[in-house]
């Protein structure tokens, strides 16, 4: 873990104070995943770390430096000391940048990219391999692959800040393209409102099938959860422009609230069934609390 502090420019996604607190955290995986480079993460493999793991019989060609000479003196047999191998971790962050994310008193996309930035920062700080993909409407994608080292943090923030959400959600397509580019298993954080006409099942299945340790952060604005509508309205879909006449009576609003709760519940159940960690984030919940408390509780960071 590095103690180097990175100063963020004004208007940056994360404040220096918050980043200082993030320095103490690390992205963890429920599964031990094979890394490409030697990193700071304990691997399933035995390696060259300082941490003792096991002994094995010497075989020809082994590094003589690893022979436990003390044991040879007592037993007169050659044993090699095995140490825990340490590897890097691939952290993939997918952010939904469709038009539906551009909504709310606290903007949903703004919230989502802050969460993404925070997790990415934790990963970078722990020498993990972080890749970010931001997927907007019409197949547009903004990808920043294989970020390592804190020097990349400012570039990452700039990258995230410059993206404007627009277009129609197509998470299935976005996930497929992401998986094609990143075959290596890792931790995958998907931040979205999951309001996809094609359903939320497809993208999550694709991620799980690719052995990703998946975390789904479901971002919704409070206005979506508890709308304050009363009267006759023509609702316009921000993504499709589709118009829908509603007479927002108390009953209708109550039914809508039930439907929202049902939607969240079905997403949660779907995730639970596939070992995907589900996190509901209303934008009125400060994202710092989400990162420091909720993500820790969910086991994404430690």
């Amino acid at each position: 873990m590095s103690g180097t502090a990175v100063k963020s420019p004004p208007g940056a996604l994360l404040t220096p104070e918050f980043m200082a607190r993030l320095d103490a955290l690390a992205v963890v995986s429920k599964k031990i995943l094979a890394g490409k480079l030697r990193g700071e993460r304990r691997s399933r493999k035995k390696g060259e770390s300082m941490e003792f793991a096991d002994y094995r019989n010497y075989s020809q060609g082994d590094d003589l430096r690893r022979i436990d000479w003390s044991l040879f003196a007592r037993l007169e047999r050659l044993f090699l000391k095995l140490y825990q191998a340490e590897e890097d971790l691939s952290v993939y962050i997918l952010v939904d940048a469709s038009a539906s994310m551009d909504f709310g008193g606290v903007n949903k996309f703004d919230y989502a990219r802050k969460v993404a930035a925070a997790v990415a920062y934790i990963g970078i700080a722990n020498l993990d391999r972080v890749s970010i993909g931001v997927y907007g409407g019409g197949g547009e994608e903004h990808v920043m692959p294989d970020i390592r080292g804190k020097k990349q943090v400012l570039r990452l923030f700039k990258f995230l800040s410059e993206i404007k959400p627009h277009g129609q959600t197509d998470l299935v397509d976005a996930c497929k393209r992401f998986i094609l580019r990143n075959r290596r298993p890792g931790i995958c954080l998907l931040v979205s409102d999951f309001l996809d006409p094609n359903g939320f099942e497809g993208p999550l299945k694709a991620l799980v099938a690719n052995r990703m340790d998946t975390f789904a952060v479901h971002v919704l604005a409070p206005e979506e959860v508890d709308p304050t509508l009363a009267g006759d309205f023509m609702l316009v879909d921000s993504e499709t422009g589709e118009r829908l006449d509603v007479t927002a009576s108390r009953t209708l609003v109550e039914n809508y609230q039930k439907t929202v709760r049902g939607f969240c519940s079905s997403l949660q159940q779907f995730c639970a069934a596939r070992d995907v960690t589900y996190l509901f984030a209303s934008t009125d919940l400060p994202f710092e609390v989400l990162v420091l408390n909720y993500l820790r509780t969910a086991g994404l960071v430690r």
Binding site: A230, D232, M234, V236, S238, E239
Partner: protein, 695 residues
């Protein structure tokens, strides 16, 4: 009894307008656009509710609800709903409205400055508005007499038009006949009732007369009460008054002598009597001002202290309280300048200026006969009388022979002597005498009750008049004005006619065989009859004759039609004297409110009714009269009207008809309230609409 009814149920057809509103709502519903992240979940909700979507759309659409409510309210308002309150009015209503003088008292209305009649008419209008579709009403006004203003009708505009024409008349209240008339009208219709709008300031009514004596005997008490319950009395005015008024005004002109000896002058002097009464509950200092319309004398002012009126139980306890009703009543006399002629006005005011009833604060009297006493002597030749009359300086004496008089009388009747204050008939008398002052010398006064005594003669012969010779003087009445200073003891009479006189006459000189001189007095006639010829006595040689003649001329002339102070009460007929040539004159009511062409008679008096306003009446158009014409004054001068305390109940026999607080409590229409609420809804709708559009 339904609590809510409708006067125009057809108005409910307006509810049909609700259907187009709902239709328009669906057709032209204006929706506000609202961008949402995704309609995904909304669509799902709508899909779930799709089965009963139209009702859901209607539900909680505030604007639509307001519109529907507004139209419904207007439709209800058109139907003229009313609430049946405690006292339900009958279908047929006789509105009995008091238009007497006391209803002009300004102590009603919200500000307490409206006259009682104005307030009553307001309520009556409201009551007319409240009439149902099949209800009928008739209006009867009453003061001195009941007047049917309208028949039973449902025509509201006609009723209101007639109502507006009603004004307070300066007349007293005669309620008995009015109540009887109204009850008879109400009983003509089934369920009829009488609503009396009055201050109740009139005398107790007779139950027997009201219900009919025969009916009263036949009816049980219950039936009588049921008939009485047809009356509803609505009181106007307050239970106390601040009124101070002139309750009587009159004047009397008499002959007075000014100076002595050769300078002695006979003049006419008029005395004005004014009665002032206080009806207020406080002691009052009233200022009574007597003034001349021509300004020929300086106004005379008197401050009159009047005690508070004693009423009810207090008046029964006069000894304990030391206060009587008389303390609140003061009579004042004023002596007008000699030979004054013209209008005299008495004006009453109080020091604090408060008096809600103005009609009795003024009284007028017309004083005539400016040119002094005029005496007509009808005689063949009577030196003594002529001599005596000549001595009466200030009197104008005319002489006429009996032949000329008879000729003139046959042609013009009383008109032939109308210019004179006193007429001395010497040995001749007209066929009748019914107006004015006259002295009959040696001839029987042609007045009712006077007869010549006769003795029964033999069969077939004419009865003979009784003649008394040398009667003894038994007594003479020195207290009588005509006999002042007269000593009759030394008079010898040769022959006296025997007269039978009415009991109302007074004997001035009593002889041994009967009356020698008699006097008779009535409203319009003062007459003295001497039962002997002057020349058949030694009276012409006695000093008592000039004294007697002067006294008698002065006394009889007090009733002279020419000089009779003219002031009458409103409600009395105006009596116009005969005028030569029977011209047509114009009588103008005070303030020129009305004029009437009057065809005057040459021989008889003309009577004009409807003297219903206080003030001066002018009769113009008679040749020889001054341009301003003959003036007559009419005053209220009625203590009963001046005592204008509103009564809580009308006393009918032993029963009392309690006042109800309002004339219009029966039905209260609420359409105005509905329209008001509808307008409020419209404003609310407008506000909500604009708030939504601006959202």
């Amino acid at each position: 009894m339904n609590f809510l009814n409708f006067l125009e149920p057809l108005g409910l057809a307006g509810l049909a307008a609700l259907a187009p509103i709902v239709a328009l709502y669906f057709l032209k519903l204006r929706r506000e656009e609202r961008v949402v992240p995704s309609t995904l979940l909304w669509k799902k909700v709508i899909k779930d509710l799709h089965v009963n979507a139209p009702f859901q759309r209607l539900k909680y659409s505030l604007l639509l609800l307001l519109q529907l409510l507004l139209v419904a309210l207007l439709a209800f308002a058109l139907a003229r709903p009313f609430l049946n309150m405690a006292a339900e009015t009958g279908t047929y209503t006789v509105l009995l409205i008091d238009t007497s003088a006391s209803m002009a008292t300004r102590d009603s209305g919200p500000d307490g400055k409206r006259s009682r009649l104005q307030q009553a008419l307001e309520d009556a209008k409201q009551k007319i508005d409240d009439m149902g579709r099949i209800d009928e009403m008739c209006i009867v006004a009453f003061d001195e007499d009941p007047r049917r203003i309208t028949p039973f009708t449902n025509d509201r505009s006609y009723l209101k038009k007639k109502l507006i024409e009603l004004e307070p008349r300066h007349l007293r209240t005669q309620a008995q006949e009015a109540f009887q008339t109204a009850l008879a009208m109400a009983e003509e219709r089934r369920g009829g009732e009488v609503v009396v709008l009055s201050d109740g300031s009139f005398d107790k009514l007779s139950l027997q007369q009201l219900l009919g004596e025969a009916a009263l005997g036949a009816n049980t008490e219950e039936v009588s009460m049921a008939r009485l319950r047809k009356f509803r009395f609505v009181k106007y005015g307050k239970e106390y008054t601040d009124n101070v008024g002139i309750t009587n005004i009159s004047a009397r002109t008499r002959l007075v002598s000014q100076g002595t000896g050769a300078d002695r002058l006979e003049q006419l002097e008029t005395q004005l009597f004014v009665m002032v009464e206080n009806y207020a509950i406080d002691d009052v200092k009233a200022i009574l001002t007597i003034s001349s319309d021509t300004g020929s004398f300086a106004p005379m002012v008197k401050v009159v202290d009047l005690k508070a009126r004693v009423r009810g139980a207090e008046s029964l306890n006069a000894e304990a309280t030391g206060r009587t009703m008389e303390d609140s009543r003061v009579a004042q006399a004023f002596r007008l300048p000699p030979n004054y002629t013209g209008v005299v006005t008495a004006t009453l005011s109080t020091q604090n200026g408060e008096d809600s009833f103005a009609l009795d604060n003024i009284g007028r009297v017309v004083v005539g006969g400016s040119e002094g006493m005029r005496v007509l002597l009808i005689t063949q030749a009577n030196y003594f009388i002529e001599k005596v009359l000549v001595v009466m300086k200030g009197c104008t004496v005319a002489k006429m022979s009996p032949e000329d008089f008879e000729k003139d009388w046959s042609q013009r009747g009383a008109q032939s002597v109308a210019e004179y204050d006193a007429i001395i008939f010497d040995g001749i008398a007209p066929s009748r005498w019914d107006d004015g002052g006259a002295i009959f010398l040696g001839v029987l006064p042609p007045l009712p009750g006077f007869k010549v005594k006769t003795v029964d003669a033999e069969a077939g012969a004419e009865p003979k008049p009784v003649k008394l010779e040398w009667p003894k003087i038994v007594d003479w009445d020195v207290a009588h004005p005509a006999m002042r200073y007269v000593n009759f003891g030394n008079v010898q009479i040769k022959e006296v006619q025997g007269w039978e006189i009415p009991k109302t006459s007074s004997v001035l000189v009593e002889g041994s065989g009967g009356p020698l001189i008699v006097a008779t007095e009535s409203d319009r006639v003062n007459a003295v009859g001497v039962a002997f010829e002057l020349l058949a006595s030694d009276w012409p040689y006695r000093a008592s004759l000039p004294l007697f003649l002067r006294n008698a001329v002065g006394w009889v002339s007090e009733v002279s039609p020419r000089r009779r102070p003219m002031a009458q009460r409103t409600g009395e007929m105006l009596v116009l004297p005969p005028v030569d040539g029977a011209p047509t004159a114009t009588l103008a009511w005070p303030e020129g409110a009305r004029t009437l062409e009057v065809a005057l008679s040459a021989t008889t008096k003309q009577r004009v009714p409807n003297i219903d306003t206080i003030g001066l009446y002018r009769l113009t158009g008679i040749t020889g009269d001054p341009p301003e014409g003959r003036i007559y004054a009419a005053n209220l001068a009625d203590p009963r009207e001046s005592d204008n305390v509103a009564q809580d109940a009308v006393q009918i026999g032993e029963e009392s008809l309690e006042a109800t607080p309002s004339a219009v409590e029966g039905k209260r229409e609420i359409w105005r309230n509905l329209v008001f609420v509808a307008v409020c809804l419209l404003l609310a709708e407008w506000a909500i609409y604009h708030r939504r559009v601006g959202m």
